[in-house]
């Protein structure tokens, strides 16, 4: 470790302004602060700083993603061998290893493309490179189908980083969650590669139905749905990281204990989804005529464990940059995400998964929610002031 530190210190002057590689100052600083805690001291203003900085926040989020990612890799192998009917012959490690080999290239592509653009943009602007992309780069592969062609992942990642993030000014300035922008771009650009029955299972046997539970439910054939426990544990086809509600809840615990994510948002997303599901159950007609009317009968609790609902609620909706900032705003924002996600799922046959669109939609309206919360607070306090005077 000391050798590395010494090496970096020796190279540092070359990357300062006027040095041999002065143009690459941000790149060098990025790597240095990635490896070592920077030894900056405050020069003016408040000198007391909390130890939790962007780097630590992002590292904890990545840590929280690990259970879902590891399970996702295992599930890729599990679904593959299940479809071939060879599950009994394979050990748990070979299942995991198969998934690891399938998923790793997607992760590498996401990081290489995204970081290259981030580094270039930071260099060009003379900004410091920050850790914001570490989480986005991990989220993007986790919301992709395992069979996503790598060049498409590269294209949508580039699109998301440039038009979802850099044009707004980089980390902390974006309006929408960049990982969801990537998925939305994928969904609208190459719909055949991210929907249907054949993209969710790696090298699926032709005879095996690879429909996700959401797609099955959308056709109204509830008897073909896996049971609740299977869906909760995550042994179902789906995007790489989204299937296991259990693994996602493990990540949620990490986020909540460390105080990184807002429990208000998480809880209200689940509450909103449940409320909308129950509302549909209550007003579903006796004699269901259409597929949507069938879908309304789906038990509300199923919505929470199917598809990307839990993943979106825990990792996407809670993104501190794009969510509401005020306390009551967070309840409204989260609740509406849950409501909209289930609404889109049930009533719009074109979009089997409503979570992505619901979160992007509420990202757009988060500042408006905040505005009204702040305004109503001002009005309430003004009224009180007048009464007392």
């Amino acid at each position: 470790m000391k050798a590395l530190r010494d090496y970096l210190s020796k190279q540092k002057p070359k990357f300062q302004k006027g040095g041999k590689f002065g143009a690459f100052q941000s790149t060098f600083n990025g790597f240095e602060s990635f490896l070592y805690v920077p030894n900056h001291t405050t020069k003016s203003g408040s000198h007391l700083r909390d130890a939790i900085d962007l780097k630590r926040t992002m590292s904890i989020v990545v840590l929280a993603l690990v259970p879902a990612l590891l399970f996702g890799m295992y599930n890729v192998g599990y679904q593959h061998f299940l479809s071939l009917g060879q599950l009994a012959n394979e050990s748990i490690f070979s299942l995991f290893f198969y998934g690891f080999v399938k998923v790793l290239p997607i992760i590498i592509v996401s990081y290489v493309v995204g970081l290259a653009i981030e580094f270039f943009a930071a260099q060009k602007r003379g900004h410091e490179i920050n850790e914001g992309y570490l989480v986005t780069g991990m989220l993007i592969p986790m919301v992709m189908p395992v069979e996503a062609p790598l060049w498409m992942v590269a294209v949508v990642t580039a699109f998301a980083v440039i038009f979802g993030k850099e044009v707004f000014g980089g980390t902390g300035m974006n309006i929408w969650n960049p990982a969801l922008i990537a998925r939305a771009a994928f969904f609208f650009s190459y719909p055949t590669k991210i929907s249907g029955d054949s993209v969710w299972i790696a090298d699926k046997a032709d005879a095996f139905s690879g429909a996700t539970p959401l797609a099955t439910a959308a056709t109204g054939s509830f008897d073909k749905l896996p049971d609740l426990a299977t869906m909760f544990y995550g042994f179902i086809p789906g995007s790489i990281g989204e299937t296991s509600t259990l693994a996602i809840l493990l990540g949620a615990v990490i986020l909540l204990v460390t105080g990184i994510a807002s429990w208000r948002i998480m809880a209200s997303v689940f509450a909103g989804g449940l409320a909308m599901g129950l509302l549909f159950n209550a007003c579903a007609p006796e004699q269901a005529m259409t597929a949507a009317q069938h879908y309304m009968n789906l038990p509300a609790i199923n919505h929470l464990v199917m598809g990307g609902f839990a993943f979106g609620a825990v990792f996407m909706a809670t993104d501190p940059v794009t969510s509401s900032q005020t306390r009551s705003g967070k309840y409204i924002y989260g609740f509406l995400i849950g409501v909209l996600a289930v609404l889109i799922r049930v009533l719009n046959p074109a979009y089997p998964e409503g979570m992505m669109l619901a979160i992007l939609f509420m990202n757009t309206f988060a500042p408006l929610v905040d505005h009204f919360v702040v305004q109503s607070n001002i009005k309430r306090r003004l009224k009180r002031a007048k009464v007392n005077a």
Binding site: P149, W151, M152, V155, F188, S189, Y190, T192
Partner: protein
């Protein structure tokens, strides 16, 4: 302006070339965006639209310029609308007669040329205060300035969205065999907005004097 000024003096040439870049109605004045987003999914309707708008704005400019000393200023907007509406109907009928398929594709947007901000803008800002010939050149310049942006946006959208140009496949089949696929997103209007944004971005990066202070 002296009466002896030649038809294509430097001053008059500038009326045509100015709107192509530094004073472009779409890139700089940000007018006429709605139709630029709506008709640019394919090159053919984009070009027809550009020509229609050029014709309407040029002749409306001439007519209003001829009438400019007789129009009472309180009702000038109504007079301008009548002139533009008449010209749009002519264009619409011509398209229906000679280019029926394209006119079908453009559907309501031909009629909506009446509401195109560029046309009212040029009539108000230029034709009411200039001679017919200069107004005509100004109309041609602004129409073409609108047109090149339309064609540029449509070029990228058709190429990346459908793999064709003017309906002819230009991306070779071997690309598709190798796993390439057209981006459905490019066909949707949001990408027209983003393509337009990128064009404005590039244009401002090359013309630093257009960048606003903030």
């Amino acid at each position: 302006m002296s009466a002896k000024e030649p038809l294509f003096s430097a001053n008059n040439r500038k009326l045509v070339t100015g709107p192509l870049s530094k004073n472009n109605p779409i890139m700089v004045q940000v007018l006429g965006i709605c139709s630029a987003l709506a008709v640019t999914a394919k090159l053919e309707p984009a070009i027809v639209m550009a020509l229609s708008v050029t014709a309407v704005v040029a002749f409306a400019n001439v007519i209003i310029s001829l009438l400019r000393n007789t129009i009472p200023s309180r009702i000038r907007i109504i007079v301008q609308l009548v002139v533009v509406a008449g010209l749009v109907i002519v264009v619409d009928q011509v398209l229906k007669a000679f280019a029926y398929d394209v006119s079908k594709q453009l559907s309501v947007f031909v009629g909506l040329i009446i509401t195109n901000c560029i046309i009212m803008g040029r009539l108000e800002a230029f034709a009411l205060g200039n001679t017919p010939w200069r107004s005509f050149l100004d109309g041609i310049g602004n129409g073409l300035g609108y047109g090149i942006i339309l064609v540029a946006v449509a070029f990228f959208r058709e190429l990346l969205g459908a793999g064709t140009l003017f309906g002819y496949k230009v991306i070779p089949q071997c690309f598709y065999d190798a796993g390439y696929s057209d981006s459905g997103l490019m066909v949707l209007s949001p990408m027209a907005l983003i393509t337009l944004g990128v064009i404005i971005w590039v244009h401002r990066a090359r013309n630093k004097d257009l960048i606003e202070e903030n």
